[in-house]
């Protein structure tokens, strides 16, 4: 309510300036240009979705970096190093979530997001179910 007076004052200022403005006749239904939706962007021209790429990378790292030596893990804190290789899969999941949160309807790249999500989930499941059945060679 404090703003109303200020608004009125500025309106007066602006009104005084406008030359030849016909505010009453400005609206013209005959001049309407109907909305033309922009064509869908082909995959090649899409701007790069860095979060999805990052999540793919981390997912691959999480899958490929397996815990090779259980001996090492016992020398350090019993959880610390063991979790280090799983953290890649968790980071992949976070990056995937971030890319999903920031996706624009006009620029959505479903394949990239789906593949990064699959990699993240696969990495996590491989890391956790593997822990039960894997025996060090």
């Amino acid at each position: 309510n404090v703003k109303k007076s200020e608004v009125r004052a500025s309106r007066r200022l602006v009104k005084g300036w406008s030359t030849g403005s016909n505010m009453q006749g400005a609206k013209r239904p005959d001049l309407v240009r109907p909305y033309t939706p922009p064509p869908p962007i082909p995959q090649e021209e899409l701007p790069p979705d860095y979060m999805a790429l990052l999540s793919l990378l981390f997912g691959l790292l999480g899958l490929l970096l397996k815990v090779n030596s259980f001996e090492h893990s016992l020398f350090c804190s019993h959880v610390g190093l063991n979790f280090q290789y799983k953290i890649c899969s968790w980071l992949a999941l976070y990056a995937c979530l971030s890319s999903v949160a920031n996706v624009k309807k006009s620029e959505v790249d479903l394949k990239q997001i789906a593949s990064s999500l699959i990699f993240a989930l696969m990495g996590l499941s491989m890391n956790y179910f593997k822990h039960q059945r894997e025996l060090p060679v």
């Binding site: 602006v14 013209r28 699959i118």
Partner: protein, 498 residues
Amino acid sequence: RRLVKVFDLNAKLSLDMSVQTRCKMPSSSSSNSLICLMLFLLIALNDVQRISCAANDQYAATQVVDDDEDEEELDKPPSVHDDMSDKGNEKTRKDPPHVEQTPRKEQKVDDVEFDPEEFEGFEQAAPKADDQQAELNRRMEEARRRMAMMKKKELWEYYPEMIAGLIVLVYVLNYVRGSSKNRQIANGWLSVCINRLQDNFALVGKDNDEVLVRDSACHYTMYCSGRVNCESVSISLDLKPRQDLFSLLWEVFQPFGSAKWEDTVTVDVMLGSEGETGGMKEKFTLAVLQKSSESKVRSENNDLESAMVRRWKTTLHDSFSCIADDEEIPVDLIPDVVANTLNDHRQYIRLIHFSDKMIVGPINQREQRSCLRFSFFLLPDDRHAAKDGGKSKSDMEKLRTSEILLEIALRYVDKCASYKLSPAAKERLRKLQAKQAEMDFKKTAKKREAEAQQRKIEKIKKEKEALEAMSPELAAKFEQKLLKKQQKKSMPIKMKMK
């Protein structure tokens, strides 16, 4: 016991495998997901193979341990565990197998009790026993570790996983909260400006139904049309990514002053070329922008990039910089009245850009046309104003300022449509454009030179090849022709010298 455990785990593995293969894969039938599935199966099969090998090794290891236990020279295996840390220490290794030491000593002292023949070849056996002892130690260590790893982890030991899961939960909650806050801001802006828009435009929104279209959690767009002096207006609200926790954290840890996300509203007025929707009659460029972002804006816009567009002095506040083609333009288009209003709301103004060569449109449909662009901040940070003695405004109050700014924008639409440059200014602009064209020509000159050079080289190459391909007679003929040509060329020069 160990064997039983191994085969038990094997059974569990087969169960896990069957569960995982029955897992539902996402419906997208892209090749990517197929590749992922194949990778998954490959890795799983690899694991099965490895585990079976491991199982065999484990079995072999247990066998060796049992054999060692039967040997006389060695004492009970459990005592070996205690000396695990002193593997390299010779003294302690000798301690448990007392039986080894005493026979040797007593052999020398007392021949009656111990038959030396019994311990024939004992010296050779002793190192062998030491080796085996070391091996035994190692295997017992490994086995112990495996036992420890195979031991089921307590729930509380999964705390890293719990923390990671908690982060996911926090992220999801933040998404919900952030996107709803953004929607609130967008709706607030709409409620403030909708009346003015409906007064000015016959068509507000795509089809008068859904006015503000949600592009993502932080991007909203709107389309308006049906007004004199312009073809259409496209409004886009780019809000802070409040829904993305990582973006917010990134912003917090960013060094001071670097690109920060701000809530902005961009009004792009597309001007027609003729008739009643015709906009700018003159071709000019004008921009009012924040001094701090001048270089960035210049680099982003082709028409502002050239040095022909210079800075002019106006009555605007010092934090603004006004650039234009000609000095007349800012004087005419930014009279004191408007300048005062802009100065009052200088925190809200990001960019005002008029141009006949602006590049607008979605990424795959860029076009160059005359356009007026107004970019305003929705919720600027006015904490320093509050500190100076003023009051920090609430969000709704800040949004009301956007109404004033929208009105200014609409007034400019009318003003630009009726604006005429003086003949002197037109002349100056024409000269500037000629200069600009010359500069562009010079820039491309180098490129064209390189191209011409390339073409020459190719031509010479072709001629050489043709020459080599020809038979000797034809080659001779060709050479004669060349000689004649050269003579002809040299002839006129001689005549000129004469």
